[in-house]
């Protein structure tokens, strides 16, 4: 299981990579993409919308189901990864490169785990 140490992790299996103190990229982890299976559609959040830590930011769809992406941060959507519109499978192929959205003006975070803590957490979940 791939868990890079250059970012933090939420208990909802998202990763948060700080760009600066109030800006971060958000995506899903390798554990998440493997559980979800082939991803075939992403409904990206809207640029300019607010996101709240612990609440749904957007969703991703596999063949069988729709899954919510819970935002690990509170802030504003600054940018979305439009590559995912035509190639949602990037989330499966390269989950740590295929970010979903960039949040700015971040005011709050969900409880975030370090790489080691997230690894222990996933071992419990399995």
């Amino acid at each position: 299981m791939n868990i890079p140490s250059d970012r933090k992790y939420s208990r909802d299996h998202e990763w948060v990579k700080m760009v600066d103190d109030t800006t971060a990229l958000v995506g899903i982890t390798d554990f998440a993409q493997e559980k979800l299976g082939n991803l075939v559609y992403v409904t990206l959040p809207v640029v300019g919308d607010d996101v709240i830590a612990g609440e749904n930011a957007c969703d991703v769809e596999s063949i069988k189901a729709v899954s919510d992406i819970v935002s690990p941060v509170s802030g504003v959507i600054a940018e979305v990864n439009t590559q995912l519109d035509d190639a949602p499978e990037l989330l499966n192929d390269d989950p740590y490169e295929a970010w979903i959205f960039r949040a700015e003006n971040i005011t709050d975070f969900s409880e975030l785990l370090s790489a080691d803590e997230y690894e222990a957490f996933t071992r419990e979940e399995a």
Partner: protein
Amino acid sequence: MGELKRTILYAAHQDAGATLVDFGGWEMPIQYPSGIIAEHLYCRSRCAIFDVSHMGRVDVAGPEQVAFLQHVLSSNVLALDVGQAQYCIIPDERGCAVDDAYLYRFEEGRYFLVINAGNIDKDLEHLQREAKAFDVTLTNVSDRWAAIAVQGPESKKLLMTLSGGQALTKENLKNSLGTLTMEGRPVRVAKTGYTGEPIGFELYCRSEDARYFWDRLLELGARPAGLGARDTLRMEAALPLYGHEMGECELGGEIAIYSVPLAKFAVSFAEAKGDFIGRAALERQFSAFKKILNRDYSEMQNLPYRIQPICLEGRGVLRKGFPVYSRDAWAEGKPVGYVTSGTMIPYYKTEGEGLSTVITEQTGKRSIGLAYLDSRICEDFDLEIDIRGKREPAVVVPYHIRQDAAPYARPILARTETKTPAPSDRRYPERAAELLVKARENHLWRQEQCVNLIPSENTPSRAVRLLCECDPAFRYAEHKKQKAFYDEEIFYYQGTGFIGEVEELLSAEMAKYLGCREAETRVTSGQMSNTAVFSALMDWKNRVDRKRPPQRLGWVMNNHIVRGGHLSAQPMGALHDYIATDPVTEKQMVVNFPVCADDPYRIDVEQTKKLLAEYRPEFIIFGKSMVLYREPVAEIRRFVDEQKIPTTIMYDMAHVLGLVGEHFQKPFEEGAEIVTGSTHKTFFGPQRGVIGVDYKPEDLKWSLWETIQTRAFPGSVSNHHLGTLLGQLMAAYEMNAFKDEYQRAVVENAKWFARCLAAEGMDVAGDPAIGYTETHQVIARVGYARGPEIAARLERNNIICNYQATPDEEGFTASGALRMGVNEMTRFGFGKEEFQKLAGLVAACALRGEDVREDVIRLREGFTDMQYCFRDEEVDRALETLASATGL
């Protein structure tokens, strides 16, 4: 996961790292590590295997097994021959489905019913309750048998490796069954499936052999696919799933059986089914259904909704439960239905068109599904889907994939534009001149630079061609025998003296050639000859009672198209409007000539005799378009006479009309009563037809002959193409003058050419002991589905022959052979030396992809002079005079 049941293959799924889920009480693989998309694509491109052992399997036996099954199933059980399977539905009294199922008849004396895993208990309760009223025994044999679905273009190859080359099913057709051993273990095979693949099988084996076969199939290159891919594949094939397209309806109540498109195949109202469960409700649904197909909604209350395939054109993914809207006024902004199944599926992109379509490695995605829609909604309707609050456009489509171009299931994308040619704005004189230039190019190419090996084609002599173009080519000469004038021919128009004489001479010349008493020459094609005969037979049959609806023909014995039977002798061809349907089985009353197990090109005479005794067909049609051997006319004539089977024996000689004689067959001497044919294949004529009969005025069937003549004119023609009629007389003279040398040369050349091709490494069909062929045809196998590609390559090298599906292939797109005829090139003087050279060139091109175009042109160059025609000075002079007189 508690008390979940496991199939015998559970360990295999674990070993493969499958993700296991609860499916109706069973712990089943939803996918393997490769993922659903890869599994779906592998099925469509290679071969996927599915563990379907969780489904229910019930053995039905006992004296009243048929009556019981007729009572509890929607289908006509009597339509099932041994070695066949049928899709059916288990209805309830309201005309809704308890379950859908498949009924198999592997052997005489019992039936095998397969039901959905999630409904086993419910179905068995229902069936056992109903069984109490019948002397029948139901046994749940689910544990005894395991089942593996093997689906995809390579599935047949893989399974035949296990069978050691033995045929998997009785016939190479969907729903055909087989019982055999594979690597020493007993199995049952069904050519059935739930993926929409044109080639796919279900393998039933003993539970103890399941893991062996599963591992062997993986070894041979199959990949496992789970329930996830099984669902995406069946959805792409628009097949119903109980719980979605049948059973509970999200709008309340349950879905009516006729809402499901497959109902029209699965439901029968045959008399033999009596008052089966749900009959009354289903008849009401069916009546509404028929009206709805005609856009008559007066009975819509009995079938308010129908399930149809839909394709999302906007963004997102279709899913079960999404409301569907239509912009039509009658919808008034309310939902017109809901999505019953939906997802996003992958497909392989293609390049090119038609037969040269190439399936690329690139894939796309599309969101498709099925929806329960107001019955007023038809194909191409614009819809809107509510996807979690957002409206996205969608459209109703007739299908998502097509199975008619084996070996692949072909994805059909919604609203693909077909190209229409741009209208020309060039002046007519310019276009006329260009047409003439192009015609000359084509003529020279074909006549001087190509080696023409299409067996149904020939080039007529100059004399024939010239006569075809001069007056009376554009005239009429309709005539009919008038009883008031002792059956004298009465002509309706003036200026018909010459052609009237010609036609009389032609009938006599054709009768002489065929070896019979009478000939009808007004028909303008081989298929028309056949239609006229079929029409006449049916009319003649009904002459004894004109007051009741005319009875069609049945039983009719013919060669099946898959085994080379001509199109016109099939229900899909000229036989279409004349063949009767058996009210008991609801199937058309055609029985095919059986063929030898070791030589599918040869009729099995002993088996045929058995079928003749059983079916006592009123009409027997010999003749084929893929033909290597003589037809066993004499043996069959002897048998039907001995057995006193009243029948009419016809030989559609089509291809081999020009071989009538001692080098091939003498049809009337052998016992045929009627001969039809095309005058332009091995016969020297222009493109026309002919009907010959040997009846005498005092025969019972003389009036049949008179009917044949009236079904020719005015039944089939008004204008009978006087130009080619005139040319045909010259051709008949040529045939009668040269037939001995020509026929001997054709048959010798065919055998020689076949031998040379075999020596060059080509896989020639037919019995080597007799020289592979007895006709003008040579058939060479070039590999499954490679026919079209190789025939195209040969054409680029100026060798013209056609791709041919042999009895082993599923259809012409999967053709695995080439069909060649030596008749035309023999006429141009090719002898042994030339055919040997040609065999080398064909092999070089077909087997090794070499460019032989220049060699072919050089070979043809010396052979543009027609043989077996009149080259006397007298004739030549007359020809020149005629040519200059006509200005042609």
